[in-house]
């Protein structure tokens, strides 16, 4: 968020290059319509931004163009930065790739450089000086847009990781005072910690007496993870809840025996069904078919 990269700090331009940039900006503003159209057609030709319609590309091209010229004129990148973040926010969900965004900005840079060549081809020294002023600024702009895009992408990825983590550890109540905690996927120390915290909170809010932790969906387990599991069981016991672990696969059972983790204190049952049945027994429930119940009555 708004990281000040050294690349974003505008170097104090010499008066001469300021003047040249001013001339350049005037030129770009004058030929706005033509350059913009050329750029948009180059984008379509290069088959970039295929996820967007022609009109959308043209609309975006217009605002990118204006922001680009604005950044050249003022030498500050803040407006462009926020615009590129905003743009990224809109186009990332539509599946626009990094290479496309970088590609269109580089294309614009080329289109503008070409138009400068065309304008100053008679005066080679002047063209050189203009390019000296133009190129560093243009590179900085390309950099800013690319970095903005990547940062936005990373933000989205982080957000999704967070969401997956939240979703992947549900604590569910199946009966009064009975919780189940199905664990799916890889358990790393961070997740184990979150899992334990969530379970302990769940025990307190639901006043649970028995918890069934189902690890059918856990592919592998090493000593660290096994220890986390033991800790979770112990912490739950301190809150007065009994833990039943179910769904230990043969591989995990073997690993646990091999690494010699003490699971003696743990209550383990083969599968989730067995676990829930044992939990019901502990809670004093008895599940019988309705016909039998009415027959007996």
């Amino acid at each position: 968020m708004g990281n000040k990269k050294p690349v974003n700090v505008p170097q104090p331009p010499s008066t001469q290059s300021t003047e040249l940039l001013r001339e350049l900006v005037a030129h770009l503003r004058e030929h706005r319509t033509q350059l913009r159209e050329e750029w948009a057609s180059r984008i379509t030709e290069a088959q970039l931004l295929t996820a967007m319609t022609k009109d959308e590309i043209f609309a975006e091209a217009t605002s990118v163009y204006d922001n680009y010229v604005e950044a050249l004129a003022t030498g500050t990148l803040e407006a462009l930065q926020s615009y590129s973040r905003n743009l990224s926010e809109r186009i990332i969900p539509r599946g626009v790739e990094t290479h496309e965004v970088v590609g269109i900005v580089l294309l614009l840079r080329d289109v503008l450089a070409r138009s400068l060549f065309a304008k100053y081809q008679g005066d080679f020294t002047k063209l050189n000086r203009i390019l000296d002023a133009y190129e560093p600024a243009a590179n900085r702009i390309a950099n800013t847009v690319a970095v903005g895009f990547v940062q936005e992408r990373e933000r989205v990825i982080r957000q999704q990781q967070e969401a997956i983590r939240e979703l992947s550890t549900p604590v569910l109540q199946v009966r009064e005072r009975l919780l189940i905690l199905p664990i799916i996927g890889v358990i790393d120390p961070q997740r184990a910690r979150q899992l334990t915290e969530q379970l302990l909170r769940g025990i307190r809010t639901n006043r649970a007496k028995v918890v069934v932790i189902d690890i059918t969906g856990v592919a592998a387990m090493d000593a660290t993870v096994a220890n986390h599991l033991v800790q979770t069981v112990e912490a739950s016991r301190l809150l007065g809840a009994t833990v039943i672990v179910t769904g230990l696969s043969p591989e995990i059972a073997q690993t646990i025996v091999n690494i010699g983790v003490d699971l003696g204190k743990m209550n383990t049952v083969g599968d989730l069904q067995g676990g829930i049945e044992q939990a019901e027994r502990l809670l004093g429930y008895k599940v019988i078919p309705a016909a039998e119940a009415t027959g007996a009555a």
């Binding site: 302990l200 909170r201 006043r207 112990e234 301190l238 007065g240």
Partner: protein
């Protein structure tokens, strides 16, 4: 600070009100043992809801209290350990292998059940 010990039927209830010094913990141990003998209690509940830290000395003392009271033929249950405290305890490797319950109500239910199953 002294811990008040309440008599409720055949049970004793000690509610810890604030963080205790080591001396206070030893005093609690002495007092509980005396009362168990005096009132011929069947069960003791130690309520630690107010504690937000549980160090190794506190853990060991609670365990000792439980064992000593068991020698008098009574059960002890620790109630109200906070989730954060429980988590910190297992992280620090402090084991408290005595009966625990969520709160006072659960603790009483646990003692009632023990009394039923032993009679």
């Amino acid at each position: 600070m002294e811990v008040p010990i309440l008599k409720q039927g055949r049970y004793l209830i000690a509610t810890i009100q604030a963080a205790l010094s080591d001396e206070d913990l030893l005093q609690l141990r002495r007092a509980l043992l005396e009362r168990v003998i005096q009132f011929r209690s069947r069960g003791v509940i130690v309520d630690v809801t107010a504690l937000d830290v549980m160090d190794s000395f506190a853990t060991r003392t609670l365990r000792d209290i439980t064992y000593m009271i068991r020698l008098r033929g009574a059960d002890t249950v620790i109630v109200g350990i906070q989730p954060e405290v429980a988590f910190a305890m297992v992280q620090l490797g402090l084991t408290l292998d005595v009966a625990c319950a969520l709160d006072l109500e659960e603790g009483l239910a646990h003692l009632e059940q023990r009394a039923r199953s032993s009679s």
